[in-house]
């Protein structure tokens, strides 16, 4: 641009060209510093924006809905014992429900994904049934199951089951032709095929389904605990929302976000360990 204005193209090529514009290279050190910390930097900037917005709104009616970061953190610290007890209570619902969903989803998914008539019979139904929100089943679960706690476990189960099942079935159904033919040459039995070929080949899909299922599980937790157990993380958030105690509610949301993110990180590490051959083949 500079060169065009001067009408002298050679000017730009000489070493002594004065650098008038700021180039991306000037920020190379910043980029280097940020590398690997982008996730934290983004969260940090969100928190900063939150604090600025909350401070500017404080004193107004809307400011009441959005407590400042500092107030929230103080509440979080105060509520920590209660939240830790809630984590334990939630785990008692979450772990059995989620574990059952993964076990059933994987087993049934692999079977359906590798059996032609089962696929044709069950998958259209699954596609229709899976978008139904789990909360719809609450009255039926309460009516059928003996305890409230079992009902909320069932709700978690339903939430995580469909994504795990659909992904496991899709993964088992799309095993690479080479592996399938290899299994035929070896004369593997159906059970051997499921265990030694379909399961490992479908694992990347299964882990994707488990990730989606985990997120859905945390969403359902709020509802599941509200009607059944009167304790836990979801109950904590819902209660303080109902009492319009927004600092406590937001503190709860922060805490659940932290727990979810830790769980997802653990799932990711598990995935890398279990599917050790991924990205190497």
């Amino acid at each position: 641009m500079f060169a065009q204005r001067r009408g002298d193209t050679e000017f730009v090529l000489t070493e002594k060209t004065p650098r008038l514009r700021v180039s991306a290279r000037d920020f190379a050190w910043l980029k280097k510093l940020a590398r690997g910390r982008e996730g934290w930097l983004f969260i940090l900037s969100v928190l900063l924006a939150w604090q600025i917005l909350a401070v500017s709104l404080s004193g107004t009616a809307r400011g009441y809905l959005l407590p400042t970061l500092t107030v929230t953190l103080a509440e979080l610290w105060k509520a920590l014992p209660e939240l830790l007890r809630g984590t334990w209570a939630s785990a008692l619902i979450l772990v059995p429900g989620y574990a059952l969903a993964v076990a059933a989803g994987v087993a049934w998914g692999l079977l359906v994904g590798t059996t032609g008539w089962l696929w044709r019979a069950f998958v259209p139904f699954a596609r229709a049934a899976s978008p139904v929100p789990g909360t719809v089943y609450i009255p039926y679960a309460i009516a059928v199951l003996p305890t409230f706690k079992l009902s909320s476990i069932f709700l978690i189960f339903i939430g995580a089951f469909w994504p795990v099942f659909l992904n496991a079935a899709a993964g088992a159904n799309t095993v690479a032709a080479g592996h399938r033919e290899n299994a035929k040459i070896l004369g593997l039995t159906k059970f051997q095929y499921l265990r030694l070929v379909a399961l490992p080949a479908a694992l990347p899909h299964i882990f994707n389904g488990m990730g989606v299922g985990l997120v859905l599980t945390f969403i359902l937790l709020t509802v599941a605990e509200a009607f059944a157990v009167h304790s836990g993380l979801g109950y904590f958030i819902q209660t303080y929302a109902d009492y319009a105690n927004y600092p406590k509610m937001v503190a709860g949301i922060l805490y659940v976000g932290l727990v979810t993110s830790l769980c997802m990180g653990a799932l990711d590490r598990l995935r890398r360990r279990v599917i050790f051959w991924e990205k190497k083949v």
């Binding site: 080479g178 033919e181 290899n182 040459i185 070896l186 004369g187 070929v197 083949v281």
Partner: protein, 278 residues
Amino acid sequence: MSVFPQPPARAAVLQLERVACFLGHQLVLDDLNLTVSEGEFVALLGPSGSGKTTLLRLLAGLARPTSGRVTHRGVTVSGADTSRGLVFQDYALFPWLTMTGNLALAVGKSRPGLGHRQRTALAEEFLEMVGLPGTGRKYPFELSGGMRQRGAIARAFALGSEALLLDEPFGALDPLTRIALQDLLLGIWGGHAGKKTVLFVTHDLDEALYLSDRVIVLGSSPGRILADLPLTLPRPRDREAAPDQTRDLRREIENLFRRDTRRRLTLSVGADGDGAGI
């Protein structure tokens, strides 16, 4: 026109009778007759598009002919089974199983009733046979391409199949590794009590001439047999002297391919001129 070989004295193991095969709308193999007898090492030589792989898949039972009959010892082939082992160019080993795990699976099929420890021990023996001692606990991705193909050959022998079908097994290897593996294959095959029947698909003329008792030359579009040439060189063969010993045969095969290519080109030009279909 296919050349019918004289019925050999040894028993026929694999047979194709008037086999034609369509893949989609494409005629891949047309009117193919072939008999492979016991203990023969047959090379299927042809350019890409000559239906070599399809032919092997028909014999393995992974594909069905559109018309004609594929038989193994007189019984129509209706699906894959362990009596015909197939070695792929890749995909021969499951990446999530160790080498021993992969081989033990094949050992378990050929010798049912063995315990886990015996299967593993036998698998180790097969690994040693192909020059891979001590790699049992490794995973396929930890080994080089040549070592993986050694493992694939070991697995084919561990399966105990009567007939071995090899689909360009050394196609992806560098020339030096390829030579080593050719000799390894011949060594195991020759040393085996009751030689296995081998069908070896390749597009490498030298490889076909060095390895086989008989070269089936395939032409393309559609795949059919151009010639069925017996090779009577004594074994073990001399890699150095082979080019001189097979000069006439080599020239004959090269001429066959040249004529086939010319025919195909005239055909396609003619088809374009007429505006006719495939």
